[in-house]
Symmetry: C2
Subunit: 574 residues, 2 copies
């Protein structure tokens, strides 16, 4: 039993001459003029130890290397040369008792905030990577954020309830991870992509207020900010409409930002329609920390005859104020960005030193040019085409420019609700509708869904922070006939419905209350609140981009006998 | 937005003449002498509504059936005939506004505490089964218990941290659930049986205090109190010895029982060695709520020549005071219990109306009989054989008798720590050692492990409540050479070690602090605290005994294309 008296972030001049008992890791060992100095580190901070040559422990202390685990007692003394960057930097501890709890070989990565280790190496030695104070702080913040969110929910009477991980495969959406059943050969459980159906069943069951810190799984090809398993704060409540859930989430964010970051978040958050978000920012998750808004350029081009703008439904644009230094080569790169994001072309006009230039300048008269809202040094970018294409192209360009020209203020948090979503998306290719969110989202008006599905609007809302969607939710369908209508509209046959969702449609008919909810992406929230851009930083044991655990070496081979028991065979590797 | 003013458990005579706004389900609808009475139920309780014939809402109210979802306003009035069993039983609400939020068909199970529905039916309609107040209470208590446990841990500086569900298969112990990898054909993830390795890596990483409400998985043939997935409160701490972890768990239990049940739990808990528990109670998880202790009967039989006791290493017994009503047939059933639990035979002696009788009475002289500690009406049971066999047989008989003769007081909670465990178990059959707990458990003395493994003791401790093991833990091995010695003793080859645990043995060499922990079985804790004996009662969506979700119909077939993507084939059903 180690009854240490202090953590390593606590001792100051107030403790002078006290005997303290500390434990931790030797973060740095130096031998200066015969004195041995050791930075003793624990999860809270660092305290400097000193062992003088006349100290009987000196010989033992000479053996200590980086990352040895130590248990010491000593007397707090004032330092000769103080370290103003360290809370404990005015003092050091003159060691009187020393016990080496464990030794350490030279670690393959340096245990310090700065690292030049490759990500693969860091993941392989994750247990050392996590010993870096920076990384420990990410996980501590994650803990604090989770608790703060929970405090609001528990305080408001939500029950935290668990739902199964071994569930049922309901294709539609992302790919499921499957688990072969041993007892029923040839059948499979699926890991949940979200507890959506379960949480609605809690409402059917009259639980009224539910939440869960829920693990979810998607077997998708990974992107930088995706992991095969991720965590969402899953929330559902009965007898609510959209404003209730939005208000709840605002209270959660306000409390969490205040408690964890001491940041005051103003509520209510801005509401912006999906349409407006697309028009002004070319994104359904606009970053409101900076302007650079998209505008309709058609009125500006009245009477200007630009061949490749002819007959285009939309011509929309951006004006960048600091346009003078942009090279031709850079503009080619912007064009690539535009084209990768469904834009057909990028035109530009620049006013520099009183002269207009650019790809379309030749189509303008001087008076028409002077009518443009261009000031000295500005550059205007224009994209022609269909609204969706133009918007996503300019939305991507806006982000590129925002980053490049450092338009994004630090430590600023801009929340908004994106609302007024279409209920359905029509796939021209497959000649069928898809649910824009999921098929349990309530329509604003079921009659519109019945008679004019293309124009049906959803009771759905996404919460966006600094350009990231951090959560999405909706009011759910609670009437069986509306749920059937929804499935019909999506083109599911009666058989399909019964096979996939039969029990759920059944459940709706026994007195289901109106209900709705939201799921917050915890990993993203933590990422944004800790100012990192790598989601792996906020996950204790993440997988690589290719879904591998390089520390554990998973996935891995298994014994033939295990597969035999499951009655499955591995095919030829293709 | 439903801005209801009260829950249905709140309204009393204090609210007389107030207008209230309520929501909930019609739990019971009665039409008495022209008055319509509706018990309106929510997750908190019931309030009676009344609609009088002269009420303009009367016609609408006539349509209401059981389980309709209602939103009402009304005036609180005093009841004519009060219901003293209901907190709200002095009043009823005279309805002035009524909105039927949803209708309900007649449910397939009755939504009331008492049910005669089959378990299969209850599980199929779990969303209705959970609407029963009894079941809602189980889940609410589970929520409260989890929060109370968390309060202590968070308060003491533990970080709640998540570990992967998609992990690595490390056979040894129970069977893993496997998840085929799509990206690496022929390889598999495994669902964790516990986060054991991850939590130790957190300690290697210097996180010092960790906990998690962790989902764990075992693909075992199920028993009544087992589910394929279960939840444990997983705890690990650095710089500790056994007493630290035990003290922490005692603080957790004390707080949780007080907060949730208002029960005062005395701490510290009794410590009892594994050996003593086996000797006195024939169990490593003794129920201390009643006596009926096992004793060594050999000294009593000095000079008594009983043929089938000859040469037996042990003869041990129980004395039941209330032995007079036990029939011959019942004794045959006890003999079955004994034999099912490794006992070779059951002998008995009874003193009734001053006469001795029983299977071995003929071997005794009158004076020897009088020497026995039998009082009028008592019966003594004796089992001969090896210690382990005798103990488990008498331990099982003790439980049988304890239940039958109602020796177990209600609402009593008897905790104890079972300590001083052997480190290893020797399998005569396989001629090898197994770890009694798991191979990461620290020996009390590594030298004994090296030189005399059969007698090596473990730094392990189980917490037992009312005859159930509710948690087990240990101090872990933190020195690489001891971990290697342990694996050697278990007969693992260097290759085996490297393949299964290589990275972990590696991790130990970079400065691992002393550490230990414990995992509490949450499902069992909740079961015991809610006085149910069925673990399914405290799991929201449990599987059947044969690992099936009969509501969702999981496991289920999946599309051939999904299996194709995973490169696996289902074999012939055997």
């Amino acid at each position: 039993m180690l009854t240490y008296t202090h953590h390593n972030n606590e001792i100051t001049l107030n403790h002078l001459n006290q005997t303290v008992h500390l434990k931790g890791w030797a973060a740095k060992v130096r031998n200066l003029g015969g004195l041995i100095f050791i930075d003793l580190r624990d999860r809270f901070g660092i305290t400097q130890l000193v062992i003088k040559p006349e100290n009987p422990l000196y010989e033992q202390a000479l053996k200590i290397k980086n990352e040895y685990v130590l248990d010491i007692k000593g007397v707090v003394i004032e330092r000769e040369s103080k370290n103003p960057n360290l809370f404990t930097g005015d003092v050091e501890v003159d060691v009187t008792e020393l016990s080496i709890l464990n030794t350490a070989e030279t670690p393959p990565i340096i245990v310090a905030n700065d690292t030049d280790a490759l990500e693969e190496t860091r993941l392989k030695y994750r247990y050392l990577d996590l010993r870096r104070p920076l990384m420990q702080n990410f996980l501590m913040k994650r803990h604090q954020i989770t608790q703060a969110i929970r405090e609001v929910l528990v305080g408001e009477g939500f029950y935290e309830m668990e739902t199964p991980i071994l569930g049922k495969s309901t294709p539609e959406g992302a790919r499921d991870y499957l688990v072969p059943s041993r007892l029923y050969p040839g059948t499979f459980y699926a890991l949940p992509q979200s507890p959506q159906i379960y949480k609605q069943l809690f409402m059917v069951a009259g639980m009224e207020k539910y939440f869960q810190v829920a693990r979810c799984f998607r077997d998708e090809d990974l992107r930088a900010d995706r992991q095969p398993e991720f965590t969402q704060i899953d929330i559902e409540q009965s007898f609510v409409d959209m404003e209730d859930i939005q208000g709840l989430i605002e209270r959660i964010m306000k409390h969490t930002f205040k408690k964890v970051l001491n940041v005051d978040v103003a509520t209510p958050f801005i509401r912006m329609s999906y349409q407006e978000a697309m028009e002004r920012f070319g994104s359904d998750k606009p970053d409101l920390r900076y302007g650079l808004e998209i505008f309709d350029a058609k009125p500006l081009l009245n009477g200007v005859d630009i061949p490749f703008f002819q007959g285009k439904e939309h011509i929309r644009g951006l004006i960048l104020e600091q346009g003078s230094t942009i090279t031709r080569k850079r503009i080619d790169q912007y064009t690539d960005v535009v084209k990768k994001n469904h834009g057909e072309a990028l035109a530009y006009l620049r006013l520099q030193d009183g002269q207009y230039s650019g790809s379309i300048v030749k189509f303008f008269n001087e008076p028409d040019l002077k009518q443009l809202p261009l000031k000295e040094g500005n550059i205007m970018f224009l994209v022609p085409g269909l609204f969706d294409h133009v918007s996503s192209a300019l939305g991507a360009l806006r982000i590129e420019l925002g980053n490049e020209f450092k338009m994004i203020p630090e430590n600023t948090y801009k929340f908004l609700w994106v609302v007024d979503w279409p209920l359905l998306e029509y796939s021209e290719e497959e000649q069928r509708f898809y649910a824009k969110h999921h098929p349990f989202t309530a329509p604003v008006d079921p009659e519109v869904l019945r008679n004019d599905p293309k124009n049906a609007m959803a009771k759905a809302y996404d919460i966006v922070l600094n350009g990231y969607e951090i959560g999405g939710g909706s009011i759910r369908i609670h009437r069986q006939e509306v749920q059937r209508l929804m499935f019909d509209t999506l083109g599911l046959s009666k058989e399909d419905i019964n096979h996939r969702f039969g029990f759920f449609v059944d459940a709706l008919k026994y007195g289901t209350p109106p209900h709705g909810g939201l799921a917050l992406g915890l990993d993203r929230v933590v990422m944004l609140m800790t100012n990192t851009t790598n989601i792996k930083d906020v996950v204790a044991f993440p997988k690589t981009q290719s879904a591998k655990d390089v520390m554990m070496q998973a996935p891995s081979d298994v014994d033939a006998i295990q597969l035999d028991e499951l009655n499955i065979k591995v095919g030829e590797v293709k």
